[in-house]
């Protein structure tokens, strides 16, 4: 019945009639069943419109285009996957007892999301009150003496969870941008010149596997020694974390850019030589467009690495972001700590996913080849 009713088979008039008959039959059966059910449930009679709903839904399900059906199937599989995970998590969590109480299950995490939101709202309220009080006092002072010197002090509350997310995002953006400013030009140069690549390659291979935690003490000391300003624009902890992120996320972009640039089609390079394009036009018109897919692959790997590294860096550098949130909760050791950390874990995962999708969207926009499947 499935094949007969599928929309692609509607070209043959006989088949179409056949499918109409079968459709009607299917609808009738559904209607009958529903009506029987309604008859039985006498206390709560269904209105006629509701009866037709399942039938129409069925009809549309059959006639949905193949693509929509595939999306629906994938969506339902994803939802099933998540549900199974949540169930497994729930049953595993109830069996793990720690010194900070039971391991948080989904329910505790959801309630902590509520708590964190409330804390944020309360903090916003306090902040608004704080400024309102100051303004009221200043107005009073000014009415008593128009020449009085008034000022507004900034609000200094404990950073809230959303605030910490924002800090983490700024830090990773800063570190990533810093890394890209070095990595892409370096990768292009290495791809263009085999000699430079041979010179730089050992260094890349040596530093690529280094963990961020190994860099961190060095970066911290160097930043403390060199980053001295009267009114520093950024916190030292912020600079340290960002530089650590940059050091760790340089490599995938350098390597992929090099490979992309070195792999430009020989004929295209010959075209450029015959035309006599100057180096900058050659890079801009020939090299970059053909290397773009690999540059982006590198950038996506870099961003993912950077986001992973950031959490560790923030824990140790005490940069007031998600890493510090986790560290503080861990040190705090209340009965809520584990579920609050679990919320942070989820948020970290979600943001990582969003960052990757954003890069993918950017790649789609920039890439000339709209036909390649990007995933």
């Amino acid at each position: 019945m499935n094949t007969l009713l599928s929309p692609t088979n509607h070209h043959d008039p006989r088949e179409q009639r056949m499918s109409e008959i079968l459709d009607k039959a299917a609808n009738d059966t559904v209607n009958d069943t529903v009506q029987t059910l309604t008859k039985r449930a006498d206390a709560n009679p269904q209105p006629a419109t509701a009866v037709s709903t399942p039938a129409t839904w069925r009809y549309h399900a059959w006639t949905l285009p193949a693509q929509a059906r595939r999306i629906l199937r994938n969506l339902s599989l994803s939802i099933t996957g998540v549900l199974v995970f949540v169930l497994l998590w729930q049953s595993a969590a109830s069996h793990i007892d720690t010194s900070l109480g039971q391991f948080p299950g989904p329910a505790q995490v959801v309630s902590q999301i509520g708590n964190l939101t409330r804390e944020y709202q309360q903090d916003q309220q306090r902040k608004a009150d704080f400024y309102a009080r100051q303004e009221a006092r200043n107005a009073q002072l000014l009415s008593a003496d128009p020449n009085a010197e008034v000022r507004i002090r900034p609000y200094t509350g404990r950073p809230t969870f959303p605030r910490q997310i924002l800090t983490s995002l700024t830090t990773v953006a800063f570190g990533f941008a810093l890394a890209m400013l070095v990595a892409i030009p370096l990768g292009i140069l290495c791809g263009l010149s085999e000699n430079l690549y041979s010179a730089v390659n050992p260094i890349i291979q040596l530093f690529k596997p280094v963990s961020p935690l190994a860099w961190l003490p060095l970066v911290t000391m160097v930043v403390s020694a060199l980053y001295i300003a009267e009114n520093p624009m950024f916190e030292k902890s912020f600079v340290t974390s960002a530089i650590t992120v940059a050091l760790c996320c340089l490599w995938p972009t350098v390597i992929n850019t090099t490979v992309g640039v070195a792999g430009v089609d020989k004929d295209l390079i010959n075209v450029s030589r015959v035309i006599g394009l100057p180096p900058h036009t050659h890079i801009w018109k020939i090299v970059l467009p053909s290397a773009i897919p690999l540059i982006f692959t590198g950038m996506r790997l870099s961003l993912a690495t950077g986001w992973m590294v950031l959490i560790a860096a923030e824990m140790l550098a005490q940069n007031p972001g998600l890493g510090k949130f986790i560290w503080d909760e861990f040190q705090n050791g209340s009965s809520d700590s584990l579920s609050r950390i679990m919320v942070a874990v989820m948020v970290i995962g979600l943001i990582g996913l969003i960052l990757d999708r954003l890069m993918l969207a950017l790649q789609r926009r920039v890439s000339w080849d709209k036909q390649t499947v990007l995933r």
Binding site: N270, R273, V274, G276, T281, K285, P289
Partner: protein
């Protein structure tokens, strides 16, 4: 004969993993302005190497190439190359592909508007104006090669170098492009060196056919003038005794005097 392009004792040796490999030696050839020359020979006989040396993409180990009174050093737009696999930039439209060379070659000589007109004129010349905004992947193989030819002609080269330009096309498309090429050659009087595997193509298009001996250390075996009057008509020539004779001579060179490299070695 007044030589416009002259190859003097050209030889080249490549450094390979297993020692030096001599690809060409003692290649001597004089080409007059406006002449259409075909290079024909078995695979691996160094036809492409000759073309690349004239283009300046390879530099000869011995000897040199003189074009219009000057020895060539390195590639340049005065020796435009039509590549076998068209080598269009896939991220640029047909128009932009042609314009890329024009903007470079006529920088400071033509205004923007003049350049645009120039590009459009050359698109018209190869009959692809209708596809000016399409990307290479949206057009057929024959059209891509037309764009490749337009890109070269628009740079106003002294010599047009064609490396098996129609090798990858089906017979009908190839015939169309050959006719277009004859038209263009007749109207512009461009000097052309074309590599081909196709004997009919060589006889139909060329003023002289340069037949190369087999490598390694390949050189020019014979040079055969094709005296058929122009304009040449494909259909009329099919039974023309001169055409048949010329064709016969080339075939004899290729399959009798210089068998396939494998067969010769055995």
């Amino acid at each position: 004969m007044q030589a416009y392009l002259e190859l003097c004792n050209v030889g080249i040796e490549f450094n390979t993993g297993s020692g030096p490999f001599r690809a060409l030696q003692q290649v001597n050839l004089k080409i007059a302005k406006g002449e259409f020359i075909s290079l024909i020979g078995h695979s691996g006989c160094g036809k492409s190497t000759v073309l690349n040396i004239v283009a300046g993409l390879y530099s000869a180990t011995e000897g040199g190439v003189i074009l219009d009174g000057r020895e060539i050093a390195g590639p340049g737009p005065d020796r435009a190359v039509v590549f076998q696999n068209h080598a269009l930039l896939p991220w640029l439209s047909v128009y932009e592909n042609v314009a890329l060379g024009v903007q470079q070659v006529f920088r400071g000589q033509k205004t923007r508007a003049e350049m645009r007109e120039w590009v459009e004129h050359h698109l018209e010349l190869v009959h692809i104006s209708h596809a000016r905004d399409k990307r290479p992947h949206e057009i057929s193989g024959g059209m891509k090669q037309r764009v490749g030819i337009a890109r070269c002609l628009a740079m106003q080269p002294k010599v047009l170098l064609m490396d098996e330009p129609f090798g990858a096309l089906d017979a009908l498309t190839r015939a169309h492009l050959q006719d277009s090429l004859m038209e263009i050659h007749a109207s512009l009087g461009t000097t052309v060196i074309m590599i081909t595997h196709d004997v009919d193509e060589a006889v139909l298009l060329s003023d002289r056919i340069v037949m190369m001996s087999n490598g390694p250390a390949a050189t020019i075996g014979e040079i055969m003038p094709v005296t058929l009057p122009r304009p040449r008509k494909r259909l009329a020539l099919a039974e023309d005794p001169d055409f048949v004779h010329a064709r016969q001579q080339v075939l004899q060179f290729l399959y009798d005097k210089h068998k396939f490299p494998g067969a010769a070695a055995a």
